[in-house]
Symmetry: D3
Subunit: 306 residues, 6 copies
């Protein structure tokens, strides 16, 4: 009984400690006016709906046939629009750090416009993803059909999320694009920053461990293998010792480049069109068009009898 | 109001663009005769049931004791059989690309036979996985008991999915094996192609980033660390520039080999029994039995004072 | 019909084979007295509650404001306490390998005390995680606000799980800490052993493929990039050929160290305070304070025209 | 411990007693060939879909507007068709008592035809229910709008279920109609046998306790109050003492009849058009057109001071 | 195949018939501006939250104790407020039949005020329901404790719903009160119109079949048994033959009246305080204070030997 | 803004009013030691499991065949046992009104014994319910098979719940029996007190509105129609004006009696074996064996032309 009372007291003390004002500063997300918080579930649903609209019949457990495909697209476009308005509004509130009150109706109106523009870009998103699917199918001897690629390949999952998130970045929607790319990161181990710029016919093999930084620019028909980093070598620091945001610091990759597993391409360098970067290497200087870099195997390990 | 009307018009236009026939070619999975589509949920449930049958009492939130264990196994075997018939049928339909009508009753009959053979292999699957558990326990100083290994280790999760998927590959079931291995890939970061051949007593440490290709052959008592790639060096291309499918292009790993983290073994080479491959190295030529390869550290980095 | 009968017989035979006593040895988790089994769902909920208590308003779909924040904290602390008692009890049963009967009331009483101590440490956990959030924000030019870091960054997810799991390790709770760290591993690709010791202001960038071993010791303000391994070089084996458990075998990392992507630091070596370890390198010897190691690029690859 | 063992033994004995063949006769529904069992959930969903198709925008949590109403109707008609095929098949199996094997493909084909006919009757079902809504609105001074009647009134719920079930009776579908009418009975306390014949403009007030028998015939614009029974007075018995099935034994109610609360109309009698039957009375003989029956209040109770 | 095509055509024709404009008039609830539709689930949740606030610890699966009861009440009051604002807004939209556009922000503002007033009445609702619980306990020899009455008795369920709905009627909230009372009607068979006026200490025994009309007025400490109707005898009709809405047409029941099972009290009559109305009788004229009416048994049935 | 502040203040005031100690007296169910509360869901699941055990293959969405029926019965018996122990314990806590601390381990031990006895009675419950099914089938000309009766008839639902609840009454389990009977009451409108005594071959037609009181005794092969009340005429009151609990006050019904719709049998009277009670009548005195009572129709209503 003594134990029980002491434990009860511990609970009460901890609740008090966790609730007191000074301890809540910076760790507590107070909503000033009941404004919505972005929702991981809703964001995942937005991606699901986009995928169902882009590749009808593959996603969204429905029995799509030629009589009903336009019904499905109609219903889902509306669901998508409504969810987008809700989540973009939430994103705008999340990103709004002005000390004044949030103007919720105005943000919602803004969100409605952004959602409308996003939806108008769905046909172009489909065209781009179709080019990615084709490139993936052609580049993988183990792929049996484009259907299999669409339905099963984590590469397509990660690239879909990137392309959707990137459209939202272009519309200046805060936080939602990041949530979308982190969901793909969690599912596939592929971490593509939504602000990166990527051309068509993009493909990834296996993919776990890939990192593509925020200011990276990737041309058309590029292929990356697992563990490739397109990263920053260093970043500039301001007078207070804080990193300066927004400076280009990730590589530019030309058209038709292939980069093999675990290679690291670092800094604002340029990899020329058609170049091939071998696996496990570390590149911090420009590579010319059509050049090929391979690991200097001979120097790389010692071989001896056990 | 003008905004609202314009946004409404955008929606209608987009629905039309997404639904028109020419835009649907290649991106839409039409079901010709209401045939079933493979289901990620059902496939995950199949794996869950297999794990519950192989390791009763660990999975499937049940209170298993010696009086009821055979009841549980009985019920679950039947549930597994029914789900397998359903999903194998769906897989056969998915893989059926003949232009003619699908013969659904015939495919279902075929699915029933394949499901029956699969179930008959469960005792052997248990024996193999038991050998994997023992190897994992013995090889990890942090492992406390084989129970902990079965219940918590992502390696066992990934290997279970591989072994289940591989049985289905042997039964020529389309797409379902791939879905099973991609689910493990997503959960564990371990990407083992279901067509690979792997002996008993197989074990993986940490595992994130591991890739095992479709034509790889792995002997008994092999251990892989995180980031290891058993990949292809290149692949043959046919006259149209497309990769030729089905050619052996991944390594053969002998019995009792250990491969340390982030090593890449590429191409149809042979790693002899008992060999040890050090971390972070890149191997594209045969390694003899019992040989040991380690990184040539001295040459590998420059050390200097900041 | 013959097929059907034969398939039915296969099912019956398999059930018998899977249920027979000799085949169940070592693969079946029998509960001797109806004792609870640890639950992945409940453990995930425990982590979710801790995160909601540490960062109120970010997690747990609630509309937190200054009038109600203490109500939320009160309710959730109690829910957390109850779940902890239940799962710690289950963990103690799981870890109890004495041949005698389990003393369930005694284990539950012990669990209640451990849960109470855990809860008393929540304010300190908040302080530590706050330092991690600040370090992550300052170290990432792409981070927009600490709110974004708390809400979206997988690094914070992985470090939260580690810090929660580590408190339970300190309380000698079996298996639950491992489950918590494996859940983060699955979601983020970051594998931090819950027994590792990590100082404040810890931060991770991208993170996929990171491994931190059980006996690693990490100082304050350390930063790791994706693919870094803090691993063992080898481990001692006892007379029976089994690894000896509990021997220090992972590195000690000083304060303010930065380790770039895919570097491997192996064995019980010491990396001095302020050292910088470049990417893709392999370190098995001590590094002095303030030293900087970078890849010997010149030797690392061959560059030629295609 | 002795208690525990004894209780365990009781469990084992009971399982054996409940499972032995002679005890299972007549109480166990064995499925001879894995044929489907009708599902309460699926049947409820069928009714829900019908209601959503008949009264779009009221049911099925959707935001229906003039742009999308045809999409919703398209999608739901297909869902309804698929569910009907499945449940009608299950119903045909349930009702099939031939000792021979069930011919499942043939029953499914039959089900497909019945489902198609049912769907073709939906516009007529809408017309009938619209007449019922109008009659209910006009007959209830407390009703505010036809929208309220459609959305809230249990009478409309019960009549919808009846009209749907009755169409299935006309298509000779076993058991499913009964399930549909029992679901309404459970929700509303109104028990209308699906084989009864009911004209248009039918309305019910309050409704709890109403019983309408299988052979009752009700004209147009009839109104029933709570507790009314249209029942059998007696039923014929065959030589074995069993009731003879299918003989007309419930009343015929003419057009424009009103029957007040708790009145019982029993046997194959006729209530002429325009008749009014007062509450709490018991009628077993014909009532002429336009006649009015009221309770003989004077005789009915004794009034005295306490 | 011919069958299949014909069935497909039937489907298409039916979809067209159900979707054409003239067939949708009066049966389709178009939302003019995406305004919310009242939700049965949300309304049920509102009632659940009210019950949890009025009788803490009985409802809402929570472990309430003296340390946390105010936390629970705080959280739930806020959840209730938010749900009320949402559903009252939906109700106001549903009830708004003006041809002009709905002013959603204004309706929401109005809803917020009504929700606030409703919440301020919760303590009074608790006082009233407490008096009902006490009366029910005292009046039922089978009741074991007031706890049992609160937790199990359908009478308390029905009266709770009535009292909650009635507060909303007083606030002129459309449709939501009706939904609340119909949910109780469905669950308990007790149909109390939310506009009825009922004093404190009200109790019901068994209850199935009870009807209390919209303009009924019931005093304090009244008890009703199953099947009692407090109904209208007739209602006035306007020049178009439609019932005139809003005219008092149901009885006034004085304090301390008891009405036994299946009695019908009809029309705007007055039952004086302390009167007792026997079962199965039909009352259409005033009853004086303290008077007792019992069925004239002698006349009521014929007794003979079979 | 002023509105918002005022509304916020109202919320705070109401929370305070609802939480203050004096207002919580008698309405708040405080759990003294975290003891479990009976759960409506768990109780519904108990009934579902019993029905699945008594009528295997009809309930519990399973595909039962002769190979697996004993597996199903085994698994469900165990699930039932566990749920019973949990809910009986909760019931014993609920019913324990001693001021002292609850001895939870002791109550759980008691619950385990009661659950064991209950389970041992399942074969007898099956025998009784089988007799009820047969009687229902034989007594209803509209019934097509005993399968339909088992699967669809609300009478069987209500009688099952009664028979299960009655076994728990015999084991002196508090509150749980009442919850079971109220669930049937809500679903079917049939209110049978679980303490009533009912013989075999019991059957009910339609059923809505039936009331069977706590001390009623019903013989074998009795049939009741909708709206029948077996009630108390009055009850004795103690010196404080409270009803005296436990006195026999409901009728005794002999074997083979039939009671038609809406008849009320009131008080501790005896209806002799083989008697027939006509509909809508009110009986408060003994009826001899074989006697037949019918409504004195001639006196019961006035018939006139409108």
């Amino acid at each position: 009984m003594g134990d029980k009372n002491r434990q009860e007291q511990t609970l009460i003390d901890t609740i008090k400690a966790l609730s007191c004002d000074e301890n809540l500063k910076d760790v507590c997300h107070l909503r000033r006016q009941g404004e919505p918080l972005p929702s991981q579930q809703a964001v995942a649903r937005i991606v699901e709906l986009c995928r169902g609209l882009i590749f009808p019949g593959f996603f969204g457990d429905s029995d799509v046939n030629c009589n009903n495909v336009n019904h499905y697209i109609g219903i889902r476009c509306e669901q998508l629009r409504d969810l987008l308005v809700e989540q973009i509004t939430a994103g705008l509130c999340f990103g709004d750090t002005t000390p004044d009150a949030i103007n919720l109706p105005e943000l919602k109106c803004l969100a409605r416009e952004k959602a409308s523009v996003f939806i108008s870009r769905l046909p172009e998103l489909r065209r781009l993803l179709q080019s990615d699917v084709r490139a993936t199918y052609l580049g993988d001897p183990a792929a049996i059909s484009t259907d299999e690629v669409i339905y099963c390949y984590p590469a397509i999952r990660a690239i879909s999320n990137y392309r959707i998130a990137h459209e939202l970045v272009k519309l200046s929607v805060p936080i939602i694009p990041r949530m979308i790319s982190e969901q793909a990161h969690s599912e596939t181990g592929i971490d593509i920053h939504p602000a990166a710029t990527i051309g068509e016919g993009f493909t990834i093999d296996h993919g776990t461990g890939i990192v593509v930084g925020a200011t990276a620019i990737i041309g058309n028909n590029v292929k990356l293998y697992q563990g490739v980093t397109l990263g920053a070598k260093s970043f500039d620091i301001d007078d207070d010792g804080n990193p300066i945001k927004g400076i280009p610091r990730h590589p530019i990759i030309g058209d038709n480049v292939v980069i093999y597993s675990n290679a690291s391409i670092l800094g604002r360098i340029t990899i020329g069109a058609g170049a091939v970067i071998g696996g496990n290497i570390w590149v911090t200087e420009d590579v010319a068009e059509g050049e090929k870099l391979v690991q200097a195997r001979a120097n790389n390990f010692l071989r001896f009898k056990q």
